[in-house]
Subunit: 209 residues, 2 copies
């Protein structure tokens, strides 16, 4: 198909598609004339993926490029996970993470098999450090319940990946699930907070809280 049809089928504008091509987010089409190239269903799929990463995932172009290369590299899925995790995390200055908070995270995740310099451990430690330095103490049980929930979520993530056929489909699910799963969870958590707050403090009581 021509690039105009690629635009129609994906709902992504021509200038945006040209930017994807220029930035290496979308492979070039097959040359079909002096000033024309032809695109196929794999391009449609890739445009949808890139659009999801940039628009809702909020990834930078550079981060999306890393993610797309990780899919195309054909490397092990564990590596694709690592790249997706890094791309979908606010940059963490690992040198400045509080040692005390890292110790807390290590105690909470005792027996887990993961790299000490991955983004997860440092993100969690930074959240705990900020929480405690803002004067929030006695939250050990809260942390533990987050750990339990994180395990359930990660199991769901891996089950979804396992249900996909073929390495490329699995890699795409790794990437999109990692990037969009945070937003899905943040949204559902907010709705659930409101639901439970409304259940625990029904209107009459709520007005006097």
């Amino acid at each position: 198909m021509k690039i105009s049809e690629l635009s129609e089928r994906t709902g992504v504008s021509l200038p945006t598609l040209k930017m994807y091509l220029r930035e290496g987010l979308l492979p070039q089409g097959v040359k079909s004339g002096p000033n024309q190239a032809s695109y196929d269903d794999a391009h449609v799929q890739r445009v949808r993926l890139v659009h999801g990463l940039l628009r809702v995932g909020g990834l930078s172009i550079a981060a999306a490029r890393d993610v797309v290369s990780a899919i195309d590299s054909g490397g092990p899925l564990v590596h694709t996970f690592g790249v997706a995790q890094e791309a979908a995390s606010t940059p963490v200055d690992r040198e400045r993470t509080s040692d005390l908070a890292l110790t807390t995270v290590d105690r909470l995740t005792q027996g887990w098999d993961f790299h000490a310099d991955g983004p997860g451990r440092h993100l969690a430690a930074n959240a705990i450090a900020a929480f405690e330095s803002a004067g929030q103490h006695d939250a050990a049980r809260w942390y533990e319940r987050y750990v339990e929930a994180a395990l359930l979520i990660a199991q769901a993530d891996l089950d979804l990946v396992d249900s996909r056929d073929g390495r490329e489909a699995k890699a795409e699910t790794v990437v999109l699930g990692t990037v969009l799963g945070d937003t899905l969870l943040a949204g559902l958590r907010r709705a659930a907070q409101e639901h439970i707050a409304n259940t625990r403090y029904p209107m009459t009581a709520r007005n006097s809280t």
Copy 2:
């Protein structure tokens, strides 16, 4: 105490403290001289709170101001939750949320008691819309398990708030838990993903995946 001591006790620099005062994030001290004001423990606590919201929570100054006003307003906790949720969410263009994805969210959260225009419902719908438009289908069970996890997390959040004494302490926990809980969960989820991936695909098998 003088502002220099407030800076020492909180580890926040003088220029930053002056910015907090100027931006209305920190109440003015009691005038103790022509060019001097006196601060107390409540200021120390507030500086730590604001610092956590801005530095790790990544809130804008305007969003942090909304959150601080919600704490100080003495209004119902359910309202404080709402303000914290809004402040800690990437802005959502509610007009542009996909109706189909909203229907999916409503089916997943059937029987829950929350406002249709709160940030949670729209955040979740946007994640689902991006996921599905990127070609990810057959994820119904994945969504359901996220809903179950979100309920567990929200219960932990509310239990932590309930454990605090007094309205202001509760309101601070609402705010910090909402803002930093997303980051804590994102971090733990990444570590758990890696742990479970390493467990399911041990090194020998992993190399050939």
